[in-house]
Symmetry: C2
DNA sequence: GGAGTTGCTGGAACGCCGTTCCAGGAGCGC
DNA sequence: GCGCTCCTGGAACGGCGTTCCAGCAACTCC
């Protein structure tokens, strides 16, 4: 009959792990990490908390599953061909955009990588970056170091940038992005000159920079390091120099 | 008279923000993040929760203060002199060791950097790394990118390594470090060959590697990228091989 | 086709958390 | 002595993750 308030509310199909995770992601996106409670989730799914526990072991598993779902959608495989490094940039921007779209993702990724690096999330990201590293012609001995360096830079920088975006758009503080960066820059300029000379000197660069561009600059830096330390060997006819 | 159960219990000196933060760090170190509650903290300080709130606004501020205190102790200034890059390594290892000593630190750092990069923690780390970057002779235009890349790598890699250490020593799982790495390596080797060829290929390197060495390899990689992209302007007469 | 079983549901209840409130004590100027 | 400020700590509140369990479809077996 009358369409319900929010969402189609198709509540004939039974509860399932996928539907729960999907609802959890929506809740995280709309009300943030603290808004994801089993009660709110149960309301949105028109059920009770107990029913959810039949499908999901607890909150930790719920957050892991939500993170994994979003990451799986984000690391779309790069199409073959293109300049060396294009594949890395594609994967990196995929994660960058995902973190920007889901502001809760950065903290979750960091928490999960630094708590259980053997879950499903870490290998997924590691694999998609690693393939591009291999495609660059890096010799096998350098795979782990190069991929780790890229992964940590990508996740760290994307997370910090998402924080900027989110804070600028924060409810209450009617700031746009430029105003927000200006505020940060001004705050840094106000630091103690003796204790923070470097940060003060960099403050000006923060004002009005382009996030995406700066993010890619960092990628280029790490790629340059990879190229310098691991001179690409020919794809076939592999020889390890050094 | 009789000495109390835990700690000297010197409870004549009044409550203070420092004493609270100190107790919070001890609690975090001994029972982990979930063990830090206002009730437990009040017990340890032989007071009630209300008294703590007179000095600290809430849990978020408590965690921020604890993180800041540990970071401040960790980023000891590097002594001048030494080969180019030594300063960076000193700062990096300081943070690496701090994260290893305080396993909760990695998640806190990530959360705080990706939530409010304008707090006191971020500038502190940024500053100490940045000074070393400047000392490398990087031109000013490259300061922000180079320092960010280093910072993200350092925090990410240190956090992941701390997770390994902590998991290996986890209560219940009577594993030592080698066993733990072996378990991770084996798990990775068991991944789907079609979906995870790269991760499987790297699994062998994970077994029995040296953390500190691998961490420094990553630093060297980023430093090489900095040297390649930002050829140092002459400090006195710095030349970079390549 | 009835009875038993299984798989799932959702509301009630438990214990703990962060946080607030407030009666009161210690120290101090007057 | 008195009032005032600063600080204390216990009690209480609302909300959280989690557990428990009575109930109910659907399906199986006889």
């Amino acid at each position: 009959m009358a369409t319900r308030s929010r969402r189609p509310d198709r509540r004939q199909e039974p509860l399932s792990r996928e539907r729960i995770v999907e609802a959890a992601v929506e809740l995280l996106d709309s009300v943030g990490e603290s808004g994801l409670t089993f009660r709110a989730l149960a309301d949105r799914l028109a059920t009770g908390p107990g029913a959810i526990y039949w499908h999901i072991a607890g909150k930790a598993e719920l957050l892991t599953a939500a993170t994994d779902a979003v990451v799986a959608a984000a690391v779309r495989p790069a199409e073959p061909g293109g300049a060396p490094g294009d594949g890395v940039r594609t994967v990196a921007l995929g994660l960058f955009d995902a973190v920007e779209e889901h502001p809760w993702l950065a903290a979750q990724l960091a928490a999960q990588l630094s708590r259980s690096p053997w879950g499903t999330v870490a290998p997924r990201i590691f694999e998609s970056i690693g393939r591009e590293v291999r495609a660059l012609g890096v010799p096998e001995a350098g795979w782990f170091t190069a991929t780790s360096a890229l992964m940590h830079y990508i996740l760290g920088a994307a997370g910090q940038n998402a924080a900027n975006t989110a804070s600028a758009a924060a409810p209450g503080a009617g700031m746009d992005r430029a105003e927000f960066l200006d505020a940060v820059s001004t705050a840094w300029e106000g630091l103690d000159p003796d204790a923070y000379p470097f940060t003060r000197a960099v403050a000006e660069q923060v004002r009005g920079h382009d996030d995406r561009e700066q993010f890619l600059d960092g990628i280029a830096l790490v790629l340059a390091g990879i190229a310098a330390l691991h001179p690409p060997v020919a794809q076939q006819a592999v020889t390890v120099v050094r």
